[in-house]
Subunit: 320 residues, 6 copies
């Protein structure tokens, strides 16, 4: 591990080589609890690209993050060993299936070390190969915050675009549709099969209209009802957030959730049985102000606090 001379958390925020949250950079996986990972891949996008540059910009803006959460007073760095393990290494970037194998390989290694991954995409297709790596034994539940269901069958004659991962995951038996909830769905479609697949298999969709009517607290109750106590993955597509907050994404849909609502949703997961999470579809070329990346970094920090508490309390329970 790199020898850190000064606590980078106390440095001016523009100083230093940017790792996620200014955590130490590490290639040594021993003893890590949570790995912060970049997945600079957007080869499965049929709209505007650029999410390949997401991890870098999120790392840069994540220097704005600090240690102690202002609501829960949790300091995740006191509870767990957390490091930036760098980006997934790709042998291939021009073939979606081959690239997905590279991703799965990387996460399998983390999984073998018992490390919980918190990732920054990349396009939404990356969640499929991540799930393949971390669901060896049984399917996981899913909290998906997103403008789109990403349950199409095909896009541009391909089974593996960023509009299809959760349909594939259900078909592959690594995602439990009955323990899956999709929040913030909106925008016209073409055709409507992307909305039909989920409910047919038991996925709970909370369209933005229902979201607005229910409010965050009731949606959280619905989330907890759906995912229950089983292992659950969180996938946060930045396009769930309204594009006034998060313009830096490939397929923006107006009329989205606010950041206060998003933070509320994540905090509502406190105590859930989370096994990993990702924040995807940040496309820096469309994010002139950097606000999209700042949101992504903050959402990652919010999730990190939840993950760290969960791992810490489990470890404590085991010890006791």
């Amino acid at each position: 591990m790199v020898e850190i001379m000064n606590n980078p958390m106390n440095e001016p925020r523009y100083c230093g080589i940017p790792t996620f949250m200014r955590t130490p950079q590490s290639t040594d996986l021993n003893g890590l609890d949570i790995a912060l990972v970049g997945v600079p891949y957007d080869g499965a996008v049929e709209a505007r690209s650029g999410a390949r540059q997401g991890p870098r910009q999120i790392r840069d803006m994540s220097s704005m993050m600090r240690a102690i959460h202002h609501v829960t007073r949790v300091n995740p760095y006191k509870l767990c060993r957390i490091a930036d393990v760098g980006d997934v290494h790709f042998n291939q970037i021009f073939d979606v299936v081959a690239s997905h194998i590279d991703i799965t390989d990387f996460y399998k290694r983390l999984h073998d070390f018992g490390i919980v991954p918190l990732s920054a995409g990349g396009d939404h297709s990356i969640t499929l190969p991540i799930l393949r790596a971390i669901t060896a034994d049984h399917p996981v539940g899913l909290v998906q915050i997103d403008a789109h269901t990403d349950c199409c069958d095909e896009e541009m004659n391909s089974k593996y675009s960023h509009g299809t991962p959760f349909r594939r995951a259900v078909e592959e038996g690594i995602l439990d549709p009955k323990r899956t909830i999709q929040i913030g769905i909106r925008g016209a479609a073409n055709p409507d099969e992307c909305w039909e697949f989920g409910p047919k298999h038991g996925i709970r969709i909370v369209y933005i209209e229902e979201f607005t009517k229910l409010g965050v607290e009731k949606v959280i109750r619905e989330v907890r009802r759906v995912v229950g106590v089983g292992p659950t993955y969180v996938s946060f597509d930045i396009d769930s957030i309204d594009p006034s907050f998060a313009p830096g994404t490939g397929t923006p849909e107006i009329g989205g959730i606010t950041t206060i609502e998003a933070q509320g949703l994540i905090r509502g997961l406190r105590g859930s049985n989370l096994v990993g999470a990702d924040v995807v579809e940040v496309s820096p070329p469309f994010d002139a102000s950097g606000n999209t990346a700042l949101i992504a970094a903050t959402i990652m920090y919010e999730i990190l606090c939840i993950l760290a508490e969960k791992i810490y309390s489990e470890a404590k329970r085991e010890k006791d």
Copy 2:
């Protein structure tokens, strides 16, 4: 009509020469139900200009739109014949009155074919010559969503600026003030006559403060009460939306409505007797992210669904 080899709706969103909503481009007006029109004119602006470039950028971003509405499941392209008929042709652009005549001429031709126009401006002065063309017989009612009343008497010693169209329309007898409602009004004025003219003639103003207090549903009820069942025009000034969503406009006013509220307002018009609509004041030079144009395109799509349903059900009623 252009021979379309592939369904452009299924193409990647960045492909093809951009027409509004990727509809076919047509100069043949026979058989059209709804015409999508661009009015690249901003010669009546006394603040920042640029709305002349609005139609182009809205066309570009409108490729993001798809066919089926996620709430109503309406597919307007199945209900009506819809085409992009191009931009108004101007013989003159340096004289406001002459330019307005060019606009009226263009819309008269559409009106003669019985086509309902859905337009993208251009500054707000364009609504006056459009109304002149489509209100041959009797004045229309108006749902105006806007930060400003645009009921001044003069700006910079001119009767025909983008701050005066609805006062002129009332004076010309083509707008029925008693069937007119203005929503989202706010911002200081100088002098206050722009707020006094409307109420004096029966126009209902919903200032942003009342809007916030009532909420979208009650405002919709008020809208329907005001416009009733008579022929009604919808004029959507993009500056009604808060500039955090829609910075690309000439005279932004902070403290505006959200896109969710705007979408709610439009959806509340379902079943109204709409005879035309426009979305105006999108100024691309101030819209670096393209979000303003995306909102304009989405609002046009929302209106298109309402218009198509109305025309379809009327046609069906006639047939039955």
Copy 3:
């Protein structure tokens, strides 16, 4: 005073050398009631800089302001004598303490003339030297709208950064912590002393979560309860506003208040005993659209209406 040939309020908004609100520029302080002041200083910032350019950009965007408030119908220029007195003159800009002395000197002169200052920053450190100038006799109360408490003890080993002014002001006895309320506080910290100092001394903190729960009206009641009838200063840090509205600031925190909420808060101060105000931390290099400066200018205008009413009614009372 400059001879004004035409009323600049009626000019197109892009015309003329930009003073705050298009008020006359004046170096003659006799007879002024309210001075609009620029403080182009950001030497106490440990994050992203640029607030030194704030006064210029706010002046430029403030041309969008007009005279009569659309809710209260107050025209401040009819009630008081208001002028732009230019920027604080700095003899030194590389030493925080020396620069603060330059600021205090400038405001002392205004104070000697009995002028109420309404200022545009600059970073938040400037409020400390302003308070030093205008609290000769007794400490003031404070309404601070901000993402951060700015009550740290030190940043980067300095007692006088933009994260410390209100702690210093309490220590110096010029700020009454029991009559101080901080609204909109959020974001992680590092360490948590910045949140502990205030409450320990009686400062009332309304975190964003409480703010959201209470709503604007109840927060206003809390504000009025805290500050009472004593002399009160208003310090508005633009980072209180969510960065989707106000990206142009050095340390943005997602999940902030909206502009409608901010306007509501200011209007809630009507009738309070205000002795000065500032709007700080606008950093133009991060404000490509100019929306941050537009918000700052509008908030200044909202405060100006409150200040003018207060001064006018006091003057009237005295006369009667």
Copy 4:
């Protein structure tokens, strides 16, 4: 005149209300030698607009200028009395002819005081009404640095667009075509009459290809040969400069002159009989970096040095 407490030339460049070159703002014309004027008008543009915002942005960037020229060591502020007299006041902005009358009126007043104007546009149509004001007795010669001849007969059926001023000026007898040289001309046309009019009347056109071949020094010799010793006006269209340097303009043409070449051309006018000058077509909405305005400000400063030397030496000659 405003009482200036400190020499604004020595202030940090971001301080103070921005006048041209940080000169004093003055409405008192007595005793002035050179007036810096803004002409915020772009109503005669048939392409992208925005030049109405030019004077403000040029004033802002002109704070970067300092006093002493690094080649000639001239300090114009020591040689002449120079002030920023503000912007032309417009009674009308929606009618080109009426707006031009407002411009002429403003400059006539300057001319009556014997003041030499150095102006910042605005679109190129403004040069015509300026020439009308300052050529009372006899036509002037012209050094026009430009991508276009601006000698069309009509644009969009108008005689008074920004593409026609010099044809009109020749026709009105206020511009001597035989003492006129146009430098940097390029770009396709439609039709070619804009290139034919000039040579037919004796105007010397130096196309960019000839410019490149000759080099700056030989072009200067040609300039001096053409304009001779008679009274000469300089009109600098910023689109003469290549758009890599100056993107902020309405009708950019690639393949333009460099700033070094432009500075060389201006310096080559030293000793000429200049009676006024303008820099036009700076359109801030297309100038994100501000570089176009910086160039305009620097060209104005270069011209100012030439003008001041000329006026100073004339005055000295008279005195002797």
Copy 5:
């Protein structure tokens, strides 16, 4: 073909649905001489993407073009029948080889009609499938203006990236290396095989250093010597131009050629036996000012003039 009511060349440049150069849009290939084609494909890029959006932005900026060339006075639209035939239709976008087949199919159809294609990319990989379509009988010569040789063997383990097309074309026997010249090459490499392949097979490389030393005229002579009188293709990679002119590209290399030099090079091809051309690697997300697209459009116009003259004189010769 679309019925054109007004000559779009005479419209204000912001009017109308943007086709390349405002030519008529056509799907009818009969009688066309030159087809303007968009190839919105960037799936073979290993650096920053975005060139998929190139054709749209180039079409938009190409409205700035007019008809008559200012040097040659050629009006291509008088010499040939020219139309915008739209974009290549893709059945597949996620597999480079399959996408290339879609491209070849589209161009074969043009080739069958005897139409000369002038294309806008897209990444540089598209030139390979275009050459496959138009070199049925024998290999072509090539004038490649580019920062990179694009003669790598593999990138990211793929034979078909945008860094390999000309090596593949030589290997496939459709490009004659002895009639190939590459101009503007520069930038470090990793490894150096990309520089070695060409010379080994007879390709003439003019590095930027030699280019600067020789000057445009001598380079043109070298070009004409290399390509001779055989059929020749022109491939213009926008990254040949210095990124100060053309920032909107994926792999910018500083120290490039100027636009004046680029225009000179194209004009030097007058009279050559050109059989097609493309302008590639314009990436709008990195082209905030639009200048890169403006350059691409102008280079296309310059090539169009050369192509039209060549086709016209051939047709005339045949007729005579």
Copy 6:
């Protein structure tokens, strides 16, 4: 040192945590030949700030660099051991003198290890404390490429601004003025003492006018004549480059050198006795396209090749 699993040079350029040139990050100084260092400090700037963010953005863009120089075929990574040693650690950022001590301390440690530093600023004041660290025994010569001499006596009453470092260095006896050459100087001044100090002490100034006249090759000869064979430092202020290339800087001056000229100048130093170098004044907030940082990274790479060759040949000589 971080274990590097894959050669980052072969990764797609957007992958990985960005170090300078994708070199390994190291805190272990043993055995290093050249250290790449970031100095994120801009506290001595009296104009626009932002250079504190320079090292991060330069690191990001430096991923565009590759290994082998296309002219010299030098691969610096084969000749020397090169690493990114991170940023200077600051204990203080609000006091210029204290901050400079932090810088000197950092470089002294590098100097003690015999490591040659190649740095990215930061404002130009940083060169002074760097020189203090590496000139223990005798003053160095200097090749300064810059728009300004930075030889003022004071700015804003401070001896240690970014406009004074080289005057201080001469006074402190660590810079030999007779072996100092300043290239690219231009722009007005206020007063002219900044131009007088240097020549009075023997510094050779090449103003931009002389530079243009001489051309790069003759300037190189002059450089080599001035600095001779003694130890020489290279300080490259990015504002030497014309702002069309490099807008991202605090005090841009139009009419600067081109990147081809800058690359030529650096290559002309081949074989000189260089003991260190820096590239300063890159201000990312004003560098929307990233081109300024790309230039800085490329200039650093060009210098790196020169440094590596020099160190390698010395080492070889010693061995022989």
